[in-house]
Amino acid sequence: MAENPLPEKGLSAYRKVRNALLGSLTAVAFILAVTPLLAIVYVAYDRGKAALSLAFLTTMPGGFPVGIEGGIANGIAGSLILIFIASLLSVPVGIWAGLYLWDQSHTRLAKITRLLSDLLLGVPSVIWGVVGFFVFSTNTGFGFHWGFSGLAAGLTLGFIMIPIVTRVTEQALRDVPRSYIEGALALGASRFQVVRGLAIPAAITGIGTGILLGVLNVLGQTAPLVFTNYYNTGIPKSLVGSNGSVGDLAMQIFIYIHEPSKELHVKAMAAALVLTVIVLLLDMGIRLLAWGSRKYAQRMG
């Protein structure tokens, strides 16, 4: 009798073991990846819950050392102001630059721009801070001399954001299928009509993600603020000059943790939780916006 040349049906013992092993490795990797988020939320909540209240969000810090009484309204307002200024600079510039890199991707200028943009992504934030300090805060020949101020910090953060928005925008546009673009061009659409009516709507989720990444980066920045803004326990009337500093959640946490006061440590952890929740809300907001504009683009030309 000839032996059956084929092995038995079903998985060999070796493959069964290998499947189980790789499956459990994947599960472990997943747990390791999500644990930090859960840990952050848990630690911040557990250590900060004593300070949490609605008033914590809406009142200014007071007492001595400052912050023993009151909440973090200065930090929330200041962080939002900084995001606003940074976005005002970086979103239009970054999207425009991303469009340029996508549209003119092979030109020498585009290649140089891409290279410089990537280099900027790697610049440590402390260096951004020092340069922002000399350019915007001091009187070193640039003529700004804005002191430690919200405008100096906001623009510094905006410049940090530009390369992030640029690169993500370019990548999102590249992901739009070429056949899609060609279909519109073949109907007699101009380059601009294709970009506005098809490419940007198709890439809007990616572009929104890029803006979000930039904003999140800015929200967490502390080093540049040390040099360009520092901190304010109130809300400034002006964003320029010696009284132009804004509060900022990241700086606030940093300062509170360094104070030898248990109460301030609790407030720092509560502020950390608030910062995390703001990040999550912004994330959802951007996603909703991207979803909405895609729906809109589907209806319009």
């Binding site: 092979h106 056949s179 899609y180 519109a184 109907l187 007699g188 101009s190 009509q193 009516g197 209806r299």
Partner: protein, 259 residues
Amino acid sequence: MENGTQEPLVPKIAVKNFSAFYGKTQALHNVDFTIYERKITAMIGPSGCGKSTFLRSLNRMNDFFQGFRVEGSATLDGEEIYGPAVNPVLIRQRVGMVFQKPNPFQKSIFENVAYGLRIQGVKSRSVLSDIVEKSLKAAALWDEVKDRLNGSAFSLSGGQQQRLCIARALAVEPEVILLDEPASALDPISTARIEELMQDLKDRYTIAIVTHNMQQAARVSDRTAFFLDGTLVEVNDTTKIFTNPEDSRTEDYITGRFG
């Protein structure tokens, strides 16, 4: 195929001594070729022979490739397609194109067909509705989609999507329609529908089709051009090409000796 020899042939697109380059690579060598009005002209040849490059040159779809350039003359109704003052956008409004893979926009069925009109500034809902209906009827898709015009174009089958793309091209009333292997990604039944459709459209439009499928060229076209290695080997009435080609290379190709 019948080719209506009684009617005089009117040149629509005339190409003389036409060469095309991608950077240093020459893709087309001195092509001389005429596409006649209200005829279906098929371009056949093995992969890489230049037939798609040639087709895409006719409405300047190759402009976006880095380093693409042409030499020689290509005219549409006597006007140079690559003339210095010519706006390629206007050429593409007159010379529409349907691609190998259906590429509907991420929009509703209605908006896909209306897109070409919207970008020309047509806003009136009633005008748009009329043209959308007319175009979908011309593309033999109306009955299948009339109850779901606001549904996503992606909900259609591949064959329906391709007919939607044809309707989209028809909506801007081009004079010439270029079809770049329009049925190669479709099943036989969808292919047959597209071929029938081409016969219907031939009365009003000049059609040029690139196809890998020689039977398809023989079935649908009035004239056939055979390309090989970037040169036009032979162009003639389809019946002549498939029964009595002049060039031995054409004969080798259509009899399946290579390619």
